[in-house]
């Protein structure tokens, strides 16, 4: 008699090859098409070879095919290999055989791994041969091949094992496929859902702050594009390996728990049926909440979304589990769910942890950010240079006062607000406390924002020019607005030092209103530094010391539009004119002149009045403003600007 307990059953392998081997062959064909053939095309193309390594990784060759197969093949394999579990005849037959369930699982899994491995292995060998035998060196390296093979296998094994795990939970092949795809995205999706929904009910919850922490990492499918530009991190590789091991161990466990008779049930382990039903209910509830939260922005709509979403989810999940439309009698479970969900919402509203009221104590704060929104916070510092922390005691106090004022205003839940305020404290114990509030308008907190904005520290932190050392400035350029290409370039170190100082003084002297409101501007100023950076600031018409300095230098006429540059200007009100600005910004001059004749527009030729207009041009941005057409000397078409009613000089108000 032969050994009865041989670990390896050849015939099961033969069977798996007969049933699923074709998938491996198709996979191989796809890989050969996507990589060696594609690369061979490049190699025979004389031009392409001129470029050294056109792609960073091998995943870029027919990446869409590679990605599709990397996830599709393992799922399909799991469905086909474990199909025997989901049909009554085959599962009774297989389980009556003298082979234990774990051994069955090992055999079918090993076969699947082999089917995944073989095409990748063969493709790699071919790539290595191509590399050795030809000029492929310039297209890819040997390391590239190994990295490609390793990472492809890692992703497909993870997907394969995940699909097996899901297969152990369900008794229907279709459900197995759908659930696997959902599970590939689930950890990411549920995190987003929970965070967005929390932000509706937890005042100040900075969901974007948490959502932006590379949450894609939670989903292999969303992580995969990383492969196009580089490699997975060591931590990712390690965590995927751990995950594969966990999922496989879980599969063995579930297989032993699984009831063979539960063939064709959506959830084959009865204890997990409520988990499935309530899980689906919870997700659809959050999803509907998110939908109405983002579209309607109102609490009652969100609550409606929760109720409708959870009912729908509960119904669908119950239908799937019970495999019938008639689930009306199963409402008790929903009542339990609704009560729990309401209790949860109530608990969040109670704010037992004091989350909403939390303002760190002054002595605990090391530094603080006050920004418009999370995006400013998240951008790297070299892109948004004004993202700097505030350390001064004064500002920390002011920020706390602002924060407390926002909390006591009870703003920021769900409002029609368009403004946001983002506050992040770095605490002395190394922790962060991050809040983002939706507010109706910044105006509401003007008094609290003013001391922060007007502080030198804030200005220096948020405007690099305010903190610039004039020694590093190579050059300063002033470009006037308008169609005339007027500019001044300061290159003399003494001029640069002087100008930088007065520009900084202007900035530091600015009031909160000047910083936040629309201001008329003469020109733009660029500071070119020795490290090849360019810093930009507006030359606001209110910067008197700059004007004085430029006048003394005799450069003022090159630094801004002067009244002499204009022949005349025509001022009119928006509502008067039937000559709307044309799309290209051109305006019908004849009609304009007609308006003047009719007395509906004011023609200005006086140089002083023209100067007054230039000083306020650009202050308006709404309907509450005059339009002004500036006619430059020897220019056919005028330049159109806006002047806010409040800024309008006296002679305009008369008209």
């Amino acid at each position: 008699m032969r050994s009865r307990t041989s670990l390896f059953n050849r015939e099961i392998f033969v069977q798996t090859f007969r049933s699923a081997g074709w998938i491996s062959i198709v996979y191989l064909v796809a890989l050969l098409f996507a990589l060696p053939l594609r690369i061979a095309m490049d190699m025979t193309d004389g031009n392409a070879i001129d470029y050294y390594k056109p792609f960073i990784t091998l995943f870029n060759y027919h990446s869409e095919i590679q990605m599709l197969f990397m996830f599709g093949v393992p799922i399909l394999l799991a469905l086909v290999l474990f199909r025997y579990l989901n049909s009554k005849q085959s599962s009774v037959f297989i389980h009556s055989l003298p082979i234990k369930r774990p051994a069955l699982l090992h055999h079918f899994t090993a076969a699947g791994i082999l089917f995944l491995l073989a095409p990748v292995f063969i493709t790699s060998v071919i790539l290595l041969i191509m590399h050795a035998a030809s000029n492929a060196e310039s297209l890819f390296s040997i390391t590239d091949v190994f990295q490609w093979a390793g990472q492809t296998l890692l992703f497909s094994l993870l997907t394969f094992v995940l699909s097996i795990f899901v297969g152990m939970l369900t008794g229907m092949t279709a459900v197995q496929g759908v659930l696997t795809v959902i599970m590939l995205l689930f950890p990411y999706g549920i995190s987003i859902l929970v965070m967005v929904n929390l932000s509706y009910f937890l005042n100040g919850f900075a969901n974007l702050f948490y959502m932006d922490r590379n949450l894609e990492i939670l989903s292999p499918v969303l992580t995969a594009p990383v492969l196009l530009d580089g490699m997975l991190s060591k931590l990712q590789v390690l965590s995927y390996i751990v995950l594969i091991a966990l999922l496989y161990t879980g599969s063995i466990f579930l297989y032993q728990k699984r009831r063979i008779e539960s063939v064709s049930q959506a959830i084959s382990i009865r204890g997990l049926q409520p988990v499935f039903i309530y899980g689906v209910t919870f997700c659809t509830m959050l999803f509907a909440g998110l939908y109405y939260g983002e579209t309607q922005n109102s609490t009652s709509w969100i609550i409606f979304g929760y109720i409708a979403g959870s009912m729908l989810g509960y119904l669908i999940a119950t239908m799937i589990v019970e495999k019938t439309w008639r689930v009306a009698g199963k409402w008790k479970g929903f009542v339990v769910y609704a009560a729990s969900a309401a209790a949860l919402l109530f608990l969040i509203q109670l704010d037992l942890t004091g989350y909403e009221k939390a303002v760190p104590a002054e002595q605990d704060i090391q530094s603080v950010y006050v920004l418009d929104n999370y995006y400013e916070f998240s951008a790297p510092e070299d892109q948004i240079p004004y993202k700097k922390k505030l350390y001064s005691k004064q500002n920390i106090q002011s920020v706390r006062a602002l924060h407390q004022q926002i909390i006591s205003n009870q703003e920021g839940k769900i409002t029609a607000g368009h403004d946001t305020i983002f506050i992040a404290y770095k605490l002395k114990d190394g922790e962060h406390l991050v809040r983002e509030y939706n507010i109706r308008s910044r105006e509401t907190f003007k008094n609290e924002l003013r001391p922060i904005f007007e502080s030198d520290e804030y200005k220096k932190a948020t405007n690099p020019i305010a903190a610039l050392d004039s020694k590093v400035v190579d050059k300063i350029k002033i470009f006037s607005n308008g169609p005339l290409n007027k500019s001044v370039t300061l290159a003399d170190p003494k001029d640069i030092t002087e100008f930088t100082e007065i520009a900084q003084r202007e900035l530091l002297n600015e009031s909160y209103e000047m910083m936040t409101e629309n201001q008329p501007v003469f020109s733009g100023i660029e500071f070119l530094t020795s490290d090849n950076n360019t810093h930009y600031m507006d030359y606001k018409t209110s910067y008197k010391t700059i004007e004085k300095w430029l006048t003394n230098k005799g450069e003022i006429k090159n630094a801004r539009i002067m009244p002499d540059d204009l022949s005349h200007a025509i001022v009119f009100k928006q509502e008067d004119q039937d000559l709307k600005e044309e799309e290209d910004g051109m305006i019908d001059v004849k009609k304009l002149n007609k308006l003047v004749e009719q007395g509906k527009a004011l023609r200005v030729e006086d140089k002083k009045q023209l100067d007054a207009i230039l000083r306020v041009n650009g202050s308006g941005d709404s309907d509450q403003s005059y339009l002004v057409a500036l006619f430059y000397q020897e220019q056919k078409f005028p330049d159109i600007g806006r002047i806010d009613f409040n800024y309008a000089p006296g002679f305009m108000k008369d008209f």
């Binding site: 009865r4 059953n9 099961i12 033969v14 007969r18 037959f93 008779e261």
Partner: protein
């Protein structure tokens, strides 16, 4: 050999088996009878180690069956709906069985080809239902199991093939003490084969009997006397049923054949016949009211 102790099994909170106990001796052929939905298939699946019982135990050779390779290697289960791997020929399936069951007997496989006369290079799926059944017997018997579990095995077989297979089964039982459990909804189909019968009804085993005991213990007696029937005629007898047809008394009694004959001869009857009962009759008389409830099984 097979000891089933108080097993319970539920599907979707619905009880299918309700504390079934039975035992099958080595070398016997046990017929499990029951109407549709009585739980026969579930019971056989549990005995074969496919399903796991919710409560109770299934022992074979004093060992629990579930996930027990040693036991399952000596046991073959032919379910009511057969399964073969798609696109497999008989030979390919045979080599799968050979690889699975260490007791596989190649000579027997070849020898049985004569009996069944089916081309072994044919794909099983292309065969008729009856031929597929034959293939399953062929392969199962070639695996030389100690225990053969058959769920409604004769469906779709013609009488000639039925006879042939029954002979093969009996031969294995006689030659190497194979144990067979066989389920059916029809007593007549298995009464010539089985030596033990169990009747399953709504998840309970109503009765379990040795057929030889039954047959030798219960007798149908016809009596007639010259004069009145003696009043003490059945006083010391275990009477199951009595009927008077004119002067003829028809009775069903339990007892040893010789003792019963001696007893009645004492009264010097004019007519005395002692006849064997069909199994069907025995069940009906034995089980009284319950017998009517399951009458359709016995037809």
């Amino acid at each position: 050999m097979i000891d089933v102790k108080n097993i319970h099994k539920q599907f979707d909170r619905q009880a299918i088996l309700n504390g079934v106990s039975l035992s099958v001796k080595k070398g016997s052929i046990y017929g499990l009878l029951g109407s549709n939905g009585a739980g026969k298939t579930t019971l056989l699946n549990t005995i074969s180690g496919v399903y796991r019982q919710d409560k109770g135990n299934v022992f074979i050779d004093q060992q629990p069956v579930f996930e027990n390779l040693e036991i399952k290697e000596k046991m073959v289960f032919i379910p009511d709906t057969l399964y073969f791997f798609p696109q497999y020929t008989i030979d390919q399936t045979a080599s799968f069985y050979k690889n699975m069951y260490s007791g596989w007997n190649e000579e027997r496989y070849v020898a049985l080809r004569e009996v069944f006369g089916i081309d072994t290079s044919k794909k099983i799926h292309k065969l008729s239902k009856g031929m597929q059944r034959q293939v399953s017997f062929w392969l199962s018997l070639s695996a030389m199991p100690d225990i053969l579990i058959l769920d409604e095995p004769f469906d779709g077989l013609d009488p000639v093939m039925r006879k042939k297979i029954k002979n093969l089964l009996v031969q294995d039982v006689a030659e190497r003490e194979m144990t067979i459990m066989i389920s059916s909804h029809n007593l007549r189909e298995v009464e010539d084969l089985c030596d033990h019968i169990g009747i399953l009804h709504k998840g309970n085993l109503l009765l379990e009997k040795d057929i030889d005991d039954l047959k030798s213990d219960v007798h149908k007696v016809q009596l007639a006397f010259k004069h009145d029937t003696p009043s003490s005629l059945f006083s010391s007898m275990q009477l199951l049923y009595k009927e008077e047809r004119g002067s003829v008394t028809l009775a069903i009694v339990r007892g040893d054949y010789d003792e019963v004959t001696a007893h009645f001869q004492n009264y010097d009857p004019v007519i005395y016949d002692i006849l064997p009962l069909t199994l069907e009759e025995i069940f009906i008389y034995e089980m009284g009211d319950a017998g009517y409830a399951i009458k359709n099984i016995l037809v």
